[in-house]
């Protein structure tokens, strides 16, 4: 198991390097770079100064290596410095946003709690909705509940989140003024009243994301339960006279959860991607909204860094899913 983990970790390095190169080159070699957006009225020597100040006159390879060094060495070092008061980074230049001239990671650090609160709650809620639906659908296969669950999953797959989100806004914020349409980022929870307000403003974005996730996960749960229901050990357990409850909720459920747990882990990066839409729709000031903002402002360092963080999430959770599968299922041996 340990060798497998180490091997996978080593394999992740070239993957991440490839992805970072693709992102960097795509953004860098594109014709619509901000160099071309400096107004023509700016005198040539000032233009030259601006380009030099942004570091854009260096060759591509130099800038790529510099960016890698900043991402993998300067930024973590600065983070450790901030925690322990050391001076590992030694005042080296960090990745700066072209919009605000401040470090990109500071901005990400400010925004990530918003994303995590909304996305995390949504995913948790989605899983909590999906598991019971999946279990009961499989236990009563082809019942009306199962049919309804299938329809729910099909609709959940097909209706894009931006449309569920708008529908929820129209119904629950415009027609029935129960929830606010926009998310107030400045709200801090101090007492009961602000807590209620926070819950109310989180309700719609969380529900939007949760429904989309619940659809997919409930299908996996159902098919995994169905695979296990027909196994011999289930018949044995029933023959021993165990209650139906113990058979289904202990014996079958535990074995069925193994593949579902990996699916849940694999879904985490996707929900961050989906959060880009939800954050923009509801005005949640998270990293997805930051990405769109940076794209519209042609802020290349921020775009590169955020896109690469999304890629790191994908690789990381793929790895976590594989390791979890090996840990949970003793039949899987990677070595």
């Amino acid at each position: 198991m340990l060798t497998f983990t180490l091997r996978r970790l080593l394999l992740a390095i070239p993957t991440l390097l490839f992805i970072s190169l693709v992102i960097f080159l795509l953004v860098d070699l594109a014709p619509g770079s901000p160099m071309s957006e400096i107004p023509l009225t700016v005198p040539p020597e000032v233009r030259q100064k601006m380009i030099e100040a942004m570091g854009a006159d260096q060759p591509v390879l130099v800038r790529y290596l510099l960016w890698l060094r900043q991402f993998f060495w300067v930024e973590p070092a600065t983070l450790i410095d901030g925690w322990f008061g050391t001076s590992l980074a030694g005042g080296e230049q960090r990745i700066l946003s072209w919009q605000t001239r401040s470090p990109v990671f500071t901005m990400i650090g400010q925004r990530i709690p918003q994303t995590l609160t909304v996305v995390g709650t949504a995913y948790l809620l989605g899983v909590l909705i999906a598991l019971p639906i999946g279990i009961y659908s499989a236990y009563r296969q082809y019942s009306w509940f199962d049919q309804a669950g299938t329809l729910f999953a099909m609709i959940g797959f097909s209706v894009p989140t931006f449309f569920t989100g708008t529908l929820l806004i129209i119904i629950f914020a415009v027609w029935l003024p129960w929830f606010p349409t926009k998310y107030d980022t400045n709200l801090t929870v101090t007492d009961w009243q602000s807590f209620v307000q926070q819950v109310r403003q989180m309700a719609l974005p969380v529900l939007t994301l949760a429904l989309a996730n619940a659809a997919a996960i409930s299908r996996y749960m159902r098919s995994s339960m169905l695979d296990n229901m027909g196994q011999d050990y289930v018949r044995t357990a029933r023959a021993k006279g165990m209650s139906e409850r113990t058979v289904v909720l202990k014996h079958v459920l535990r074995n069925s959860l193994i593949p579902v747990v990996t699916v849940i882990a694999l879904g985490v990066p996707a929900i961050f991607g989906g959060a880009i839409i939800t954050e923009n729709l509801f005005g949640v000031n998270g990293i997805g909204a930051a990405l769109i903002l940076a794209i519209h402002a042609s802020d290349l360092p921020t775009v590169q860094t955020l896109a690469f963080i999304f890629a790191v999430l994908i690789v990381l959770f793929n790895l976590i899913a594989d390791i979890l599968y090996g840990l949970l299922d003793p039949r899987i041996r990677y070595d």
């Binding site: 795509l26 594109a30 619509g32 609709i155 449309f163 129209i170 839409i277 769109i292 896109a307 994908i314």
Partner: protein, 302 residues
Amino acid sequence: MTDAAPAPRPRSQGRAIWDQFRTHKGALFGLIVLCLLVLFVVIGPLVWQPEKLRVAEALKVRNLGPSWRFPLGTDQLGRDMLYRMMQAGKVSLAVGFIAMMIAIFVGTTIGVLAGYFRRLDGPLMRLTDMFLALPLVPLLLVMVMLFRDRIAGSLGPETGAFVLIVFAIGITSWMQAARIVRGEVLALREREYVLAARSIGAAPRRIIFRHILPNVISPVMVAATLGVAEAIITESVLSFLGLGFPPDFPTWGRLLYDGLQYMQLYPERVLWPGLAISLTVLAVNYIGDGLRDALDPRIRGR
């Protein structure tokens, strides 16, 4: 129940597939809905010609509700919403189908090469894995943002946006098809008939086109159907985030995005395009589901 037919003549394969497909209620529903939507966007503009309004006249008919003159009302510039829905649907469906074709072409090529030639398997599958690890939505957004103006300059804003988005979606969604095809080809190339073909000296090219490709058609068709749904959703996401098609050459996603500002006053302007996208994707998904059952000879009742 189809077996009960007393006809001694064996049924053709297409007939058998159709009979199985018909038993899937959802798939039949999907097919009917999709046909209606295609008719709506293709025949619709021929039947429904909106009156040509001058600017001064159009200003008077802004933001109207549904009426006989404008069945879906008008938008903030006095344009007929029904006609815009038809135009937008044409583009949305075209993007879905063409992007799917690009993805399936690339995916099948890579899958066949990786499955048939052992030397290529490792590198090509590594490449597929790396593409799977790319964050697609951010990447697509970046591609559209960076290349939009350049391509619009050389091809014109409408063709430019179309080519760019179709191409971008196509080359970022071939990975599933490649994996499915590779798996099938790996199993097929060990079969006796492939060995027989090789033993009489058939070239790899001939074996692939004559013996392997016809046998991977069914999974590819299912993947293609689901790919259309995926492509339509991806395009509408781009348009929804304001990085898709220009407003005078809209898709359903773009109409929804434009309607968002007026959502509180005129919610139907968001509802119609949203419903159209959802219905299309639902129909296509159901067709894919039915096709999977119909094309699988183990399920198909003989």
